[in-house]
């Protein structure tokens, strides 16, 4: 198992109830798998999660990216800037 953290923004943070979550996950879990784990833990997150983008250590990544110890994942729900 590895330790990672996930940071949440906007509506996702409201659903999760905190802006940072420490998690223990199997080594080399993909972002897609992490997304499924998060939906399992927070079912209300599902509609945001299906359209979310993800960053790892402040770099936008695709969902097949594999996570390693101490990665910081940012869960980025659909954006509404401008």
């Amino acid at each position: 198992m590895i330790k990672i953290s996930v940071v949440f923004f906007a509506g996702a943070r409201d659903i999760v109830g905190q802006n940072r979550l420490e998690m223990q996950i199997p080594a080399l879990t993909s972002i897609a798998k992490l997304r499924a784990l998060l939906i399992e833990k927070f079912p209300q997150l599902e509609s945001l999660a299906t359209r979310a983008a993800f960053a790892v250590n402040e770099i936008l990544v695709l969902t097949d990216t594999l996570l390693v110890e101490n990665d910081e994942v940012a869960f980025l729900p659909a954006v509404s800037g401008g």
């Binding site: 906007a10 659909a78 954006v79 509404s80 800037g81 401008g82």
Partner: protein, 140 residues
């Protein structure tokens, strides 16, 4: 070519952006301001609150500016996005570009705004006069 990207909690000084983009080799400066709209359909907005994932938002804005610069021959470009609480009429975003010709300057501003609304990690929360707040997360 010069480029300035900024996220700020302060009001946006757009006149200064226009002067910064002025150059002798450009024949056109286009400034776009996005402002807080009070009425959307039947809903009234008391204020908006913007938040960003700043490190990625800045990087993404820079990439958008670089892409537009090479595509449209931009000579100078400034993009400033405001964060925090904004009331109707206030400026939430300003994009200013200078190009040799106006068609490119207009097109660049349009493309930059479209990209910003699609990919830059910035979110707004609407609060109504009744005190109801909602984060806006577009569904398409």
């Amino acid at each position: 070519m010069s480029m300035r990207i900024k996220l700020t909690n302060e009001p946006i000084a757009h006149e200064e952006m226009v002067e910064n983009c002025r150059t002798k080799s450009a024949g056109a400066i286009v400034l776009f301001l996005g402002t807080v709209r009070e009425i959307t359909g039947t809903e009234q907005t008391l204020f908006l609150e913007y938040e960003a994932f700043a490190p990625v938002a800045e990087k993404t804005l820079l990439e958008i500016a670089e892409e537009a610069t090479s595509k449209w021959g931009i000579q100078k470009i400034e993009i400033i996005h405001r964060l925090g609480i904004l009331y109707p009429g206030e400026t939430s975003i300003a994009v200013c570009v200078s190009c040799p010709h106006r068609a490119d300057a207009f097109a660049a501003c349009q493309q930059i705004m479209n990209k910003i609304k699609e990919v830059v990690p910035i979110w707004k929360k609407e609060t109504s006069p009744k005190g109801v707040s909602n984060w806006i997360h577009p569904k398409n």
